[in-house]
Amino acid sequence: MSTLTKMASAGFDVEQIRAEFPVLRQTIHGKPLVYLDSAATAQKPYAVIEAIRKFHEVDCANIHRGVHELSQRSTEAYEATRVKAKRFLNARSTEEVIFVRGATEGINLVASSWGRRNVKEGDEIIISALEHHSNIVPWQILAEEKGAKLRVIPMNSRGELLLEEYEKLLNPRTRIVAFCHVSNALGTINPAREMIEMAHRAGALALVDGAQAAPHMKVDVQALDADFYTFSGHKVCGPTGIGILYGKAELLDAMPPYQGGGDMIRTVTFEKTTYNDLPYKFEAGTPNIAGGIGLGAALDYLTRLGLDAIATYEHHLLAYGTEALSQISGLRLIGTARQKAAVLSFVIDGIHPHDIGTVLDRQGIAVRTGHHCAQPVMDAFHIPATTRASLAFYNTPAEIDALVAGLQKVKEIFS
């Protein structure tokens, strides 16, 4: 706690930050909202809400086509986000920054466009035991279509991937390794740089699902040497329906388009179409313009707070929460990796997560219950579901205390 107090005096004032998130100022069933579901979606600060409102109220027009003033303003605001995302990820150029609907579409784009062209019968695709369904199913579809093999890096009982097993899976048939930077169900932070290097040594590419990492830590795609990196806007305090796919320019350049339509073309005749340059080649149709502009405001907001400050604050909050939950008898934390982001996934003896979730909700506490779109993770721990409290920089130790009190009430009801 003292560290958190120190951080407040160093300028990371969580009360001031909370004041910028209007949704947090409400009561649920008569109790102050305690929002512990940021891994599902993060709340939005005024800066984001205002940016979207301003677009609709003042600048609204389609982008990349009109010569009129509004279209130019819209285009500039939308394209400004591409520059911000380039900086946010430390990409080499804006050509490498593709707008997508979210991390799910980012992965599907690569599996579909790069995968269809480069994966052949007998090839192998490696994923990990920690993956969200969105980083399993697109590869399964591809593997099935091509007669390729899907292989899975196993994990230990803490929820850490076994790198020596990963090393054994790599071979000359491995075409790509796709894994999450941070696990959504358990919070495990994977050693992305090392894992990418291992993939490259085997001659394979690496795609990183950064949906749960981008909100919590500084990401540098060049330092990671990632071939593809994707994240969702709504998990970094931006709106839903917008996200970013980073890809190395030479890879994107050689890939066929993902979807056909307007904006992704240079010339169209009934005989032949030539495609637009990067990044537009992958952006067919009118995009989520408002979402893109909102995402830009969100990236500005996180950059202003500082990803390192966010990571430090959340690290202390996680330590506080881990300690507090460990005091509850019958509670078992699922996912105890040594490198972990702010996720507290747990089960309580004899009480189903859905009952826990409902009782907590009536006390104003929002948590996620279920399999977190990661059924294989649940299977590995031989449980059907967990309760997951996921933290963000706007959460406080007092909210952890409220969770603990809420769980005591759960135990009273079901004991």
Binding site: H354, T358, G370, H371, I413
Partner: protein
Amino acid sequence: MVDELYQEIILDHSKRPRNCRSMEDANRKAEGYNPLCGDRLNLFLKVENGVVQDASFVGSGCAISTASASLMTESLKGKSSEEALQLLDRFHQLLTSDVPPGKELGKLVVFGGVREYPARVKCATLAWHTLKSALNGANAGPVTTE
């Protein structure tokens, strides 16, 4: 408050479910699955001359789905297949509409509180979806709440 959902009788049946056993001589069986929460349930019925002589279940689920299966198996015994399916309709009505419950529901009225928790309706109806599948003799894989 939350007490209206977790009434004493529901808590009792979730902690000490009745008829929670598999049945060797069952002549109707079905498997239910709620993909949203991973709840699973195997229902066993012994139906003779169109009347449910015995009903039991095994499975894993939340308090609501376990209590629902427990109370359902209790209320089925001695009912004809038609009566059982009618009861299913009444039960569904109890959870999804404001129509005042009829007395044929008996103890099952305790599930009326679930109406205020739309996210939990499927927990309460899993056993009943499974019942329908068992009575209709659909043995083509597990029935789901989706």
